[in-house]
């Protein structure tokens, strides 16, 4: 067990994957000499050379398209998209090729790409550097989508993603790159739970908060705050956004009967909509209130100085918990 930041734990996972599997290649903008703008690929070039760790030209469609070709040849490319907002030029290759080639060829061509995305907001960044595009990929059949929330998961899940024979879009919350945690670098993947499972990160009986990424931290703070108020709130970290582990989620909701879903992305047709709809389908008779979503507003990401009004924070989550419990001092309970 080692105490590591999330960036270092991801870095260790990449080192390990490159060491264990000669078909793994790491590629992207500035991933080599620089070691990535977040240093997640630090040291890889020195250790594995430029045929395994590839600084590519500045073109995201090119990066993903070339990775598709490498996968055709039997490689397992780990692609870094430098920031969440720069994944869109690669959208066509991801949606039409990466997601579909295995299906189209009836399993002959595997697409074991991992597409790493430094992700989401709260870091005071410039335009296009704080996006939460995960719903686009969750809606895309043929992809797996995961989001990590702590160094230990980040390490294991990145190794699992790279080992996966399916393409995985891997979201890494930038806000947590420097967050520390205990990581077991010796884990044998064979001993780990599969990548698709959610985790109850805090148990409770009055309401369930379902979330993922950096919002897990905020949700835990909200649950702690709610405790002072005499409320016992369960918090679930989805970890896998596609597929969602509805067994874990439904078990919780059947217990609490109340659910708040939170994420940074705009709510409209977001992951929260899917989770709310699926929970309702599965747990209708156990629900005491409609699932409440607390999300980014349906606006383009605002200027950094205003982002705190966009991102769900402790207060907005607590407010939602109040609402789902029909508690009077809910701030925005007003039905508008």
């Amino acid at each position: 067990m080692t105490e590591l930041t999330m960036a270092r734990s991801l870095n260790a996972a990449l080192h390990r994957a490159l060491a264990d599997d000669p078909t793994v290649v790491v590629m992207g903008e500035d991933v080599g000499t620089l070691g990535g703008v977040f240093r997640v690929t630090d040291g890889l070039l020195a250790a594995y050379g430029k045929s395994r760790v590839i600084d590519t030209p500045l073109a995201e469609s090119g990066i993903v398209g070339a990775a598709v070709g490498l996968a055709f040849h039997g490689f397992r490319p780990v692609v870094e998209i430098q920031f969440d907002g720069f994944i869109y030029p690669a959208f066509d290759q991801i949606v039409c090729q990466v997601a579909k080639l295995h299906y189209r060829t009836r399993g002959a061509v595997r697409m074991p790409l991992t597409i790493r995305v430094p992700w989401a907001g709260g870091v005071g960044a410039a335009e296009h550097h704080s996006e939460s595009p995960e719903a686009y990929f969750v809606h895309t059949s043929g992809l797996r989508v995961v989001a990590v929330s702590n160094p230990a998961d980040a390490h294991i899940m990145l190794r699992q993603a790279i080992a996966s024979d399916d393409p995985v879009v891997f979201f890494e919350p930038k806000l947590l790159y420097h967050a520390k945690g205990t990581v077991d670098l010796e884990t044998d993947l064979a001993d780990t739970a599969p990548m698709g499972l959610a985790r109850v990160v805090r148990e409770g009986v009055d309401a369930t908060i379902v979330t993922y990424g950096a919002q897990v931290v905020t949700a835990l703070q909200a649950a702690t705050a709610a405790e002072d108020d005499g409320l016992s709130v369960e918090v679930i970290d989805l970890r896998s956004l596609s597929p969602v582990d509805y067994d874990t989620v439904a078990a919780s909701v059947r217990k609490t009967g109340r659910v708040v879903i939170t994420h940074e992305a705009p709510g409209e047709a977001g992951v929260g909509a899917e989770v709310a709809a699926s929970i309702t389908e599965r747990c209708f008779d156990h629900l005491e209130a409609a699932p409440v979503r607390v999300t980014g507003h349906d606006i383009p990401y605002p200027p950094a100085k205003l982002e705190r009004h966009h991102l769900p924070d402790l207060d907005r989550i607590l407010d939602a918990v109040d609402r789902v419990l029909d508690r009077p001092h809910s701030l925005s309970g007003v039905q508008l």
Binding site: P57, G65, H73, F75, P89, D92, H102, R104, T105, D165
Partner: protein
């Protein structure tokens, strides 16, 4: 330092200056660039190329007919482009890997696609022409230009894969695409990547003068072959209706790539004699005179004339080759008519390589739903 489009005077349309070894009237002419790569081509090989072109045309005709008869959803005819396809593809070896577009019937055929595989896709039964690895050829790419990046990535894979002797393999990846495709960002990014990594990839642009209803002048004011050098990739502009030129040019390109000199680019200047697809009506946008002009440049006729002149082809052999092509076409028709749509539940197969809780649940639900019908029927 001024760079001017020195080539601007040459039109992007119609033929213009091209390298050629067989003229439209069937004469073998010299070309200093191509001859070194065609010197050892004997009549037997030329007859082979002729046979492949005849087969391609015959299957193409059959495809159009099957579509007209309602047996295929769509067909993208390659009439007139047989030489560019067959000539280049025949220069490949088995272990090279090809990423074609949707119009490369001749390429698919040379690479060993069966008549059944050729129709399954256009009938809407399958989306690939079988397992790409059995013949090192991907299925037809419909997203214009996307496959060029795949070829570059594959070529990067070749560079990273030593053979048994520890030396890097000298296989080559090939991308086929059209004149319209040359405008797509992906195709340009493919050239950037190929040049940057010196990847062993050959770009074959089949400039058939049209992208559906748009003449190539909409895409380019310069010959498409002039694009590549700007990225650091040498190119050849050939008469795409000359099968020998295609063969020789491809050997030039392949040899460069195999020797580690990096990518190469071929613009094969040809013409789409048919409709864009069976859903298209080219009379809406094309001058019949242009079609007539190109009819005089037919790729098959010229080889036939040349070979007959040399005594390497006679009526008997022509008939035999035609009969062989007919046999193939009949196979294709049979495969088409006897095609059985696969089990509905297979639509859930191979979305993922590993189990997927969400989809597995949907599959079970749909299976139960279909069972319900059967029970109702009982």
């Amino acid at each position: 330092m001024t760079y001017s489009p020195s080539t601007a005077a040459e039109p992007a349309t119609d033929v213009g200056p091209v390298a050629r070894l067989i003229t439209p009237t069937g004469e073998r002419v010299a070309d200093s660039t191509l001859d070194p790569w065609a010197g050892d081509v004997d009549d037997a090989l030329l007859v082979d190329l002729y046979r492949d072109m005849v087969r391609t045309r015959r299957l193409d005709t059959e495809g159009v007919a099957l579509q007209r008869q309602g047996q295929l959803g769509l067909w993208a005819p390659c009439l007139g482009q047989e030489a560019a396809q067959v000539g280049t593809a025949r220069a490949l070896r088995e272990s090279d890997f090809v990423f074609p577009s949707y119009r490369e019937l001749g390429v698919q055929l040379v690479r060993g696609a069966t008549p059944a595989q050729l129709v399954e896709v256009w009938r809407g039964e399958e989306q690939s022409m079988g397992d790409p690895f059995t013949r090192n050829t991907a299925g037809p790419q419909i997203i214009i230009g996307a496959q060029t990046l795949h070829a570059v990535g594959y070529a990067m894979g070749i560079q990273r894969t030593p053979g048994a002797d520890g030396q890097p393999s000298d296989d080559v990846a090939v991308a086929y695409f059209g004149d319209g495709a040359s405008s797509q960002g992906d195709v340009n990014e493919a050239m950037v990547f190929a040049a940057s990594f010196g990847a062993p990839v050959v770009f074959v642009c089949s400039n058939n003068q049209w992208a559906i209803s748009e003449p190539v002048a909409v895409q380019s004011r310069t010959p498409l072959a002039a694009r590549a050098p700007a990225f650091g990739i040498p190119s050849l502009r050939i008469d795409g209706n000359d099968v020998l030129a295609g063969f020789a040019a491809m050997r030039w390109a392949l040899e460069r790539a195999r020797s580690g000199a990096g990518p190469a680019y071929i613009e094969a200047v040809t013409y789409r004699m048919g409709a864009h697809t069976t859903a298209d009506d080219p009379t809406r946008y094309r001058d019949p005179a242009e079609l007539e002009r190109w009819r005089g440049r037919d790729p098959i006729t010229r080889v036939e004339t040349l070979l007959r002149g040399r005594g390497a082809l006679d009526d008997d052999l022509v008939a035999e080759i035609a009969a062989d092509a007919d046999r193939l076409a009949a196979q294709m028709r049979t495969a088409c008519l006897s095609a059985r749509t696969r089990d509905p539940l297979t639509i859930f197969d191979e979305v993922y390589a590993a189990p997927h809780t969400g989809l597995d649940r949907q599959r079970r639900a749909y299976a139960a739903y279909l069972d319900g019908f059967e029970e109702e029927a009982r």
